[in-house]
């Protein structure tokens, strides 16, 4: 049982996947969070109403979300080559992953922020808070549970995306599952890689739910 599994390869692939997902989740949040906040506050009647910025951002976000991920990766690999000199390996894969996931996360941030009670915002205005304080201490603080769920969902999606990215040169579990498992008729390898991916998703979801519950005082 499982004697056809090359554990060294699996271990390396797992590390590659974790690296890809970890780095791209981090950059997705760093990029998507301000994007989501901007989308909300530039909307009509909000903190910093600006229809030009709002509409342009909405178009950019929709374009990136509309293009199928597998196509987006192929289109963006030249960008990796330009930025870090190579389009191969897990580090190179984080760039298309981030670009694909950031608009997705920005929409989740938008939904989370829109759930914050308008009355609470009015109360902060009435207290004489400036925009920056309202964004930081009301909008972001009050939407924290939804934000954590958003990060969890994004991270899980990135695990799925990372398998795609692996196939076109990023390495990781998806790549091993396809090349060593599926194409070489090594079903055990295919199953083990899939199992590890499922396990990672489970752990991420579990951690995300735990944090979300902890910050939710509604």
């Amino acid at each position: 049982m499982l004697d056809q599994v090359d554990w060294v390869t699996v271990w390396q692939a797992t590390l590659d996947t974790l690296q890809m997902v970890g780095i791209s989740t981090l950059f997705t949040v760093l990029l998507g969070l301000p994007l989501g906040v901007l989308l909300v506050i530039t909307n009509r009647g909000h903190l910093w109403e600006n229809q030009v910025i709002h509409k342009s951002l909405a178009v950019v976000v929709n374009v990136f979300r509309g293009v199928p991920f597998i196509v987006l990766i192929l289109l963006l690999f030249p960008l990796s080559t330009f930025l870090i000199g190579t389009s191969l390996g897990p580090t190179a894969a984080t760039i298309p992953l981030t670009v694909a996931a950031a608009p997705f996360f920005a929409r989740m941030v938008e939904t989370a922020l829109l759930e914050v009670d308008r009355g609470t915002l009015e109360a902060a205005h009435a207290m004489g808070a400036n925009r920056f304080t309202i964004i930081r201490k009301v909008l972001l603080a009050e939407s924290m549970p939804a934000m954590i769920s958003g990060i969890t969902v994004t991270c899980v999606s990135l695990i799925g995306y990372s398998a795609f990215a692996g196939i076109v040169g990023g390495g990781g579990l998806g790549d091993v599952a396809l090349r060593v498992g599926f194409q070489s008729f090594n079903n055990e390898m295919l199953l083990v890689c899939s199992f590890i991916l499922v396990a990672i998703v489970q752990v991420v979801q579990w951690i995300g739910d735990a944090i979300s519950r902890k910050v939710d005082h509604r």
Partner: protein
């Protein structure tokens, strides 16, 4: 001679705080006698030289000919929320604004702290013309105007104590000062034991007490109450109104409140404005308006209260 207690007795036995500017006169200009004639003027004499002057004491809030229109949108017609409103609120008043929903009282209340900008007309608060204030100046003014809401609008991500700390953080107060002040305020509203609870763990009345503590944090001169008791049961309403009254009397904070319940006005207000479709239809001392209501709307409002005000 001004009695050093910060209140004097006047008509209808309402206690009214003496304007601070009169104390300044006594201290700086060696005035011996000052007759403060509520509400608008003071007569000041100086010993020896028969000095005599009549000084107009400005009302705390002066609204003149304020109109607010919401421009027509694609499918909606233009809405006139306020129509040529003129009114004054004196220091120490508990000023009630009553009306059915849609009468414009909510807009009127928000005009007072600049949350709504009038289409035309002028608003002076504490001697300042709100229209000419910069954004920064307006924020500073708002820090000195407390506001409480029907649905409390507390931050549920913060504990009771952190909620009360929020306006102090906005005002840039030091940490130890915030700790001291929040304790003081929470003891005042009787919620010190619940300081580490989250709003979701509190009853409606307790939430409103947190709201009040928060509104008082930066020593406001004015407290705005937006239907503050409308979501509460009668018993809790009474205790919250009692608290507002105490705040008015002990701290000399002027109160402006809006409500659709005449019983609230009856309980704590000294003056009342009755509103209908954006206009003030009746305005005056509460006793007088209750004794002899002129307008149809006022009559409907006072009917429910029974005949307790005929004397």
């Amino acid at each position: 001679m001004i009695p050093r207690q910060p209140v004097c007795m006047c008509k209808y036995t309402n206690k009214v705080p003496i304007p601070a500017e009169l104390f300044v006169l006594v201290d700086e200009r060696k005035v011996d006698l000052c007759l403060y004639t509520y509400p608008l003027s003071a007569i000041i004499c100086r010993k020896g030289i028969f000095y005599f002057e009549i000084r107009k004491v400005n009302p705390l809030i002066h609204i003149e000919q304020v109109t607010k229109r919401y421009p027509a949108k694609q499918r909606e017609q233009e809405v006139i929320a306020l129509q040529e409103i003129t009114l004054q609120i004196e220091k120490g008043d508990i000023f009630g604004i009553v009306g059915y929903s849609g009468a414009g009282k909510s807009t009127l209340l928000r005009i007072l702290n600049g949350l709504e900008k009038p289409t035309s007309g002028s608003i002076h608060v504490n001697g300042k013309d709100i229209a000419v204030l910069s954004d920064g100046e307006l924020r500073l003014l708002r820090q000195k105007i407390g506001m409480i809401f029907q649905h409390y609008h507390l931050l549920w991500s913060r504990t009771v104590r952190e909620n009360v700390a929020f306006p102090l953080e906005i005002a840039g107060k030091a940490k130890h000062e915030i700790e001291q002040r929040t304790e003081e305020l929470l003891r005042r509203v009787g919620l010190w034991e619940r300081r580490d609870a989250y709003p979701s763990e509190l009853s409606g009345g307790q939430k409103q007490r947190v709201g009040i503590a928060r509104a008082l944090a930066n020593d406001p001169f004015l407290l705005l109450c937006d239907e503050a008791t409308s979501a509460l049961d009668p018993e809790t309403t009474t205790s919250i109104l009692q608290l507002v009254k105490e705040i008015n009397q002990e701290m000399g904070i002027t109160v402006a409140l809006i409500t659709h319940e005449m019983s609230v006005v009856d309980a704590i207000c000294n003056k009342v404005a009755v509103m209908e479709t954006g206009s003030i239809v009746e305005l005056g001392e509460v006793q007088q308006v209750f004794r002899d209501p002129q307008h149809e709307v006022t009559k409907r409002f006072t009917e429910g209260l029974g005949g307790g005000h005929s004397a």
